[in-house]
Amino acid sequence: MKLYSLSVLYKGEPKAVLLKAAYDVSSFSFFQRSSVQEFMTFTSQLIVERSAKGSRASVKEQEYLCHVYVRNDSLAGVVIADSEYPSRVAFTLLEKVLDEFSKHVDRIEWPVGSPASINYTALDGHLSRYQNPREADPMTKVQAELDETKIILHNTMESLLERGERLDDLVSKSEVLGTQSKAFYKTARKQNSCCTVM
């Protein structure tokens, strides 16, 4: 079971702003790593943009599960994990991180921040520690606090999109994805194995 990324974002209108992110791409081959990272940023932003304030959701895409929590104050967190990683623990992690972040970083910085400007360094440590869910969190506590029925489940990324919107278009328009990543996506799409880069 694995965590690949942990990001803090601000759900602005209309775009989501990435404030801070931590990645673990060690399981990917060397040449894939930068593309994978870009796609995870792209995915995290897209998911936050398409999720309502005050909601929690899990979006499945191939063998990945993206867990998102958007708070009522528009602060949001996304964890990208594999399908083995228990979602309960993922949501505990998000709750904890956003709580800590909001105490460390002044609200006024959120709408205009960026990873370079934001001063919050705990993310990498959290990602690393939570790789082993049982060491990081006692299960019983989570069971009591979180009502799992309120978590929205999406079976594909596509179900987040508006009618008529296509993922391909969003990818090609994206400012977050480099040329190589976009080309990678196109080839993977052609082979009908979407995002095998991930």
């Binding site: 399908s83 083995e84 799992e148």
Partner: protein, 321 residues
């Protein structure tokens, strides 16, 4: 055919370029090994590298077994003899080879989910190189435990644990059956020197029920922590089944030997012996399983988990029929 290091370099190129054919259709590698030009150990190293990029590659695993077989047959690899001295440890070189193979399999298993080819190779090595040595089986059981807990939907990984448990049981039976047991007689007829036989079977005998019990606890722990993984429930079925297999007639004979050897034990009444000979599923075990299912169903909020728990219950019912 004259093979030089250039030939080997060409082969490396071929491997990188076309893993499918490099080991399969390339006669030169086998010729190189058979002629003594390419040392099997170097070939194994090459295969190990190839597996980092192609962890599933059937051709690589098949070729690897061919190479290992060459090594086993060669006199250069000390034979893994157990008949003369059951307590003897395998030769150092063989142990190293086994450890290396376990590591290669472990890495490949981590690179691709449910990597059947890697795990079946691992099993093959235990069967043909390690000859199902009990100490190695026990070591593998404990050393793969953490990995299994971090890969809860890796069916092949858990199947490996089932194989280990099954092999431990069968190895105990083999040792136990050497001790000829006539249920009507009060004493077993020992074929092996008493001390060694007692030592090896006693060790396996004492641990076996405990091992299975630990595996059940392990399964419970995982099912509670990680709801909704069918692999874990499948694994539980296998372990439960093995537990009942364990309380079957042949192993109960070994248990009786235990009682007979230990004269201070007063508890062995005729009734106890008869119960142990009964092959029917242990009702206490069944009851505990049903309670476990109840506990899961009452606390779980995962739809899949509930489904698996109910299916498990239905399966248990068919067992007692």
């Amino acid at each position: 055919m004259a093979e030089t290091s250039e030939e080997v370099a060409v082969l490396v190129q071929r491997v990188v370029k076309d893993i499918t054919n490099a080991f399969r259709r390339n006669p030169h590698i086998k010729e190189l090994i058979l002629s003594g030009t390419l040392h099997p150990v170097k070939d194994l190293h090459l295969g190990k590298l190839a597996l980092t990029k192609f962890p599933k590659s059937p051709e690589t695993w098949i070729h690897r077994r061919w190479v290992l077989q060459q090594l086993i047959q060669e006199t250069s690899l000390p034979a893994f003899v157990t008949k003369g001295n059951p307590a003897a440890l395998p030769a150092e070189r063989t142990q190293r080879l086994i450890r290396e193979e376990m590591e290669v399999c472990g890495e490949a298993a981590g690179r691709y989910p449910s990597n059947y080819n890697a795990w079946s190779h691992r099993i093959w090595v235990l069967q043909h190189v390690a000859k199902l040595d009990v100490r190695i089986l026990l070591d593998e059981l404990s050393s793969t435990k953490h990995w299994a807990s971090m890969h809860v939907s890796d069916h092949s990984g858990f199947h490996y644990r089932q194989f280990l448990l099954k092999s431990l049981i069968s190895q105990t039976v083999i040792d136990g059956s050497v001790l000829e047991q006539n249920p009507l007689r009060s004493e077993p007829a020992l074929v092996l020197p008493k001390d060694e036989a007692a030592a090896s079977t006693e060790e396996a005998r004492i641990n076996l029920p405990r091992l299975l019990e630990e595996e059940v606890e392990f399964s419970t722990d995982l099912i509670d922590s990680y709801p909704g993984h069918e692999t874990l429930w499948c694994h539980r079925r296998h372990v439960f089944y093995l537990q009942h297999h364990l309380s079957g007639p042949h192993v109960s004979q070994a248990m009786e030997v235990d009682g007979l050897n230990d004269c201070s034990k007063q508890g062995y009444s005729q009734e106890t012996k008869r119960l142990k000979r009964t092959p029917a599923p242990d009702s206490r075990g069944l009851e505990m399983e049903h309670r476990f299912i109840d506990q899961v169903l009452s606390t779980c909020r995962n739809v899949e988990q509930a489904r698996f728990a109910n299916a498990y219950r239905k399966w248990l019912v068919t067992l007692s029929q």
